[in-house]
Amino acid sequence: MSTNKTNKLSWAILLGGFAFLYLPIFILIVYSFNESRLVTVWAGFSTKWYGELFEDEQMMSAVWMSLKIAFLSASAAVALGTLAAIALVRSGAFKGKTLFTGMITAPLVMPEVITGLSLLLLFVTMSQVLGWPEGRGSLTIWIAHTTFNMAYVAVVVSARLRELDRRLEEAAMDLGANKFQVFIYITLPIVAPALLAGWLLAFTLSLDDLVIASFVSGPGSTTLPMVVFSSVRLGVSPKINALATLLVLAVAMAAFIAWWFMRRNELQRQKEIRSAFSQ
C-alpha cells in the first residue's frame, strides 16, 4: 500500500519535471501553427509562418551565417583544442603545469559578458595598432567562438587522452613507427570519438551564443540568435516559433540518429564478444 503510494508520488514528480522541461517547447511548437499574428492568441491552424520564414531573407541569411560560423569555429577549435590537450597531458611535469591546466578551463566559467567585452577590446586595439582585423564581422565572431570553444574541446580531449594506454603508443613505436606516425595511426584514431564529441559540442555552443557574438559582430554579420533576440524585442513574430520548431526538429533528429548508431554499434560489439567467447 505504502510502496504503491511512493510509486505514484515518484511518477508524479517525474512527470512534473518533464512537463517543466518540455511543456514550453511543446507550446512553442503548437503556436508555430497558429493562424493569428499574435503569438498568444490561438486563431486556427495554419502553416503560413513557415512560408514566411523561408521568404524572410534577413532571417535566412542569419541562419546561414550562424551555421557557417559554427562549422568553421568548431573545426578550428578541434584543431587547436586537441593540440592544447596533447601539450597539457603529454608534456610531462613542468613548472606551472597546474596553472596552465586551470587556465585552459577558465573560459568555461568566465561570464560571457566579460569574454565578449575583452575580445571586443582586443579586436578594437588590434585594428588600431595592426590594421587587422579591419572592422568587425563574421571573421571576428569566428575568432571569438574559436577561442572559447577551444577550451571546451581541450577539456573533452584531454580526458580521453589521459585514459589512453601509453603502452599502445609504445607498442607502435616498438614496431617501427616514429612519433609522428604513432600520432596519426594510433593516437588520433583512438581519441577520434572525443574529437567528434568536442566538435559537436563546439558547434552547438557557437550556434547558441548570443552575448559574445553581439559584442564582436559588425554591420552585415548578424547571427541567428541575434536576429531572434532583436526581433523578439519588437514583439514576437510567429515566424520565430516556426524557426524554433524547425531547430528543435533538427536537434531531435540528430540526437536520435546518434543514439541509433551508438546502440547499433554496442549491440554488434556485444554480439561479437559473445561469439568470441562461445567458441
Binding site: 607498442a171 616498438d174 614496431l175 617501427g176 606516425q181 564478444i273
Partner: protein, 375 residues
C-alpha cells in the same frame, strides 16, 4: 627444454655492460652487466620495483641508460631510437591496437619496413599460422579471448623477425590454468623461430618453466644468474634462496670448515648442521643454512644420524592436493616447513597411523640437502 644451452653455445648475442639507470637520485638499475647468448630464453626474475622492467625498457629503447652500454649483435644500441632497433616487445596486457583487426595489428610493423603488399600479406599469414590464429585474422582484439590475444601479440612481435624479443610479464593477464598451457606453447614457438629472448616476470614458476637461464634481480642489482636448477638448488645468498620457492633458514656460527664439509652450531637445534660442501669463511663467523621443505623427511622415531635433525610437534598441515606442507614447531618455537608428497602421506609413516596435528615427530635431512650461505 633447452637447459644446456649455456654449455654448448657460448655465442654472446646481447651484452649489457655496467648499465645504470638513475631516476632523480634513485638507482632503479645499478651497474648491471649481463651476457645473453644467441637463441636462449633468459628470464629476469624479481619482485615488483626491483628494476627488471626498467632494464627491459632500456633494451627496447624507451629509457636511456644513465651510463653503461647495450650491445646487440656487435652494435651499440644507445643512440638507436626504439623505432629503429631490431628489437620487438610483447607488452604486458598485450597492447593490441583496439581499432585494428588481428591482420592489421600484425601488418602494422611490417608496413614500416617498406615491404611490398604481397610480401606483407605473406608474412602476416606465416606468423598467424605459427601461432595458429589464421581463422581469426579479421577479428578485432576485443573479440578475442585472453589466450588468443596473447598469441596475436606474440605473432605481432615476431613478424619483423627481431634480433631480440622482449616479453614483459607474458602471462600476467591470464588465469592460472591457461598460464601453464601458454607457457609451454610460447616456448615451443620461440624455439621454432630460434629467436633470442629476454623476459621479465615476478613469477618464479613461470621463469623456471620457460627460461633456459634466469637472473634474480633485487634493488637494481642482479644477485644470481644461472640455469633454473642451479639457482634453485644452489642459491648464493639468502635473498635468492628465499625469493625462489620456500626455504627453511637456520642461523648459526661456523664450527668446522674443511674443504669437503662444514658444520654449523645453531641455537635452534640441539645437534649440529653438517653440510657436505666447504664454505668460504672463518671459524666462528655467523652463517646461515638453507634447506628446502621437500628435502626434509619427517618421522616418529629418532633418526640414526648424529647431525641434521630436530624434534618438534606438528602445528599445522596445509593440504595442497599433490603434496602437503607440515608446519613443525621445535622446542624454541621455530617453525620448520616440511613438504611431503601425498602419495607418501597416505602410506603409513614408519608403521604408525597417519601423521596428525600435535604429533611428536623428528625432522631430518641428508648432508647434501641444503647449502651454507654467508650473505
Amino acid at each position: 627444454m633447452a637447459s644446456s644451452f649455456a654449455d654448448d653455445k657460448k655465442n654472446v648475442h646481447l651484452s649489457i655492460s655496467q648499465v645504470v639507470k638513475d631516476f632523480d637520485g634513485f638507482k632503479a638499475v645499478n651497474d648491471v652487466s649481463l651476457d645473453i647468448y644467441q637463441g636462449e630464453i633468459f628470464a629476469l626474475l624479481g619482485a615488483s620495483g626491483c628494476g627488471k622492467s626498467t632494464l627491459l625498457r632500456m633494451l627496447a629503447g624507451f629509457e636511456k641508460p644513465t651510463s653503461g652500454d647495450i650491445i646487440l649483435d656487435g652494435q651499440s644500441m644507445l643512440d638507436v631510437p626504439p623505432y629503429e632497433r631490431p628489437v620487438n616487445m610483447m607488452f604486458q596486457s598485450y597492447a593490441l591496437f583496439p581499432h585494428m583487426t588481428v591482420e592489421q595489428n600484425i601488418a602494422f610493423g611490417l608496413k614500416h619496413d617498406n615491404l611490398s603488399r604481397p610480401a606483407i600479406a605473406n608474412k602476416v599469414e606465416e606468423v598467424l599460422n605459427l601461432v595458429r590464429m589464421t581463422e581469426y585474422a579479421k577479428r578485432k582484439p576485443h573479440q578475442l579471448s585472453g589466450g588468443q590475444q596473447q598469441r596475436v601479440a606474440l605473432a605481432r612481435s615476431l613478424a619483423k623477425e627481431p634480433k631480440l624479443l622482449l616479453l614483459d610479464e607474458p602471462m600476467g593477464a591470464l588465469d592460472k590454468k591457461l598460464r601453464t598451457q601458454m607457457q609451454l606453447e610460447i616456448v615451443d614457438i620461440l624455439e621454432a623461430v630460434e629467436v633470442t629472448c629476454v623476459m621479465v616476470t615476478h613469477d618464479q614458476e613461470e621463469a623456471m618453466t620457460m627460461a633456459s637461464r634466469v637472473g634474480i634481480m633485487d634493488q637494481g642489482v642482479i644477485r644470481q644468474v644461472g640455469e633454473p636448477v642451479d639457482v634453485y638448488e644452489h642459491p648464493n645468498s639468502r635473498m635468492t634462496a628465499e625469493f625462489i620457492g620456500s626455504v627453511n633458514i637456520f642461523e648459526g656460527t661456523l664450527s668446522k670448515d674443511e674443504s669437503d664439509h662444514a658444520e654449523l652450531i645453531c641455537d635452534d637445534l640441539t645437534v649440529a648442521i653438517h653440510a657436505s660442501h666447504g664454505v668460504v669463511g672463518s671459524l666462528g663467523m655467523p652463517m646461515a643454512y638453507a634447506v628446502r621443505p621437500e628435502k626434509i623427511q619427517i618421522k616418529r622415531r629418532a633418526p640414526d644420524q648424529p647431525c641434521n635433525w630436530a624434534k618438534g610437534t606438528i602445528k599445522d598441515i596445509a593440504y595442497l592436493g599433490s603434496h602437503s606442507i607440515y608446519h613443525v614447531e621445535l622446542a624454541n618455537e621455530k617453525i620448520v616447513l616440511v613438504s611431503m608428497a601425498n602419495s607418501d602421506r597416505w602410506s603409513e609413516v614408519d608403521d604408525g597411523p597417519r601423521l596428525s596435528w600435535e604429533d611428536e615427530v623428528y625432522v631430518y635431512w641428508a648432508d647434501d640437502s641444503g647449502v651454507m650461505l654467508n650473505s
